[in-house]
Amino acid sequence: MMIILDLLSILLICLGLFFFFASAVGLLRFPDTLCRMHALAKADNLALGCVILGAMYQQDDPLVIGKLFLIWAVTLLSSATGGFLLAQRIRRKFLAREGEV
C-alpha cells in the first residue's frame, strides 16, 4: 500500500516537473508577451497542482493536506489576477503606441 502511494506521488511530482519544464520552454519559444503568458498562466497552474497532489500522498495529517490545498487555491487566484494585470498593462502600452489611448 505504501509503495503504491509512493509511486503515485513520484509519478505526480514528475508530471508536475514536466509541466513546469513545458511552461519554461513555452516562455522562451512563444513569439510575444501575451503568448508567453499563456504558457505561464496555464501550464504552471497544472504543474503546481500535480506537485501538490503528489505531496499530499506523503501526508497522513488531514490538516496538512488542507493546508496544501489552500496554498494551491491562493496561488491559482493570484496567478490569474497577476496575469490579467500584466495583460492589461501590455494592452495599455499597445493602445498608446497605436495612438488611441
Binding site: 513555452g26 512563444f30 504543474a47 497542482g49 490538516l63 489552500l70 492589461q88
Partner: protein, 177 residues
Amino acid sequence: MQEIIHHTNPPGTPPRKGGLQAVGIFVFALVLWKICTGYDPSSWILGIPAAGLFTWFSLTQAESNYRIRFRALPAFLVYFLSQSVLTGLDVAKRALHPEREINPGFCTYPARLPPGSPRALFANMISLLPGTLSWSLVDGVHKVHLLSGHPMILEELAILESRVGKLFGLDLPEEMM
C-alpha cells in the same frame, strides 16, 4: 444583453448582512485557522481574534450581492479540474512541438453575467480554457487573446459563462443568441 433569471438577490438590493451569514463566515475562518495551526489548543488566543478580523473584513465590503451556491460547487470543481488538465496539456503540446502551432489573434465577447464577482470570476476562468487568455474587461466586454483562433471559441466561452453563472445561482443559456 440577455435576460437573466435571478433566483435571489437581484443586483441593486443591498447585501444581506444577516447574523446567520456572519456566523457562517466566522466558522469558516475558524476552520481555516485550524487547518493552518494544527492541534495546539493555545493557538485560539490569536485564532479567535483573527477569525473575527476575517469576518469583519468579509462582511464590510460594498458589493456582495452574489453568493456562491455550495450545492453547485462540486460540479463546478469537476469541470474546473478537467479543464485545467486539458489546458495544461494543450499549452505543453504547443510549447514542445517542433513547429510552433501558434497563430495569435483576438476576439471580443460581450458579458452576459452581471458585473461584480460573477463577471470577474468568469474573466479569471477564461484564462483557464485551452488557448484563451482574458486581457481586458471594459464596459462589460471581455477581450480575449487567442493562442490560435478556431471557430468554436465563442460557443466554448458561452458554455463556460453559463457554468460560472450556475455557481452563483444564475441561469444563462449555453449558447449565444
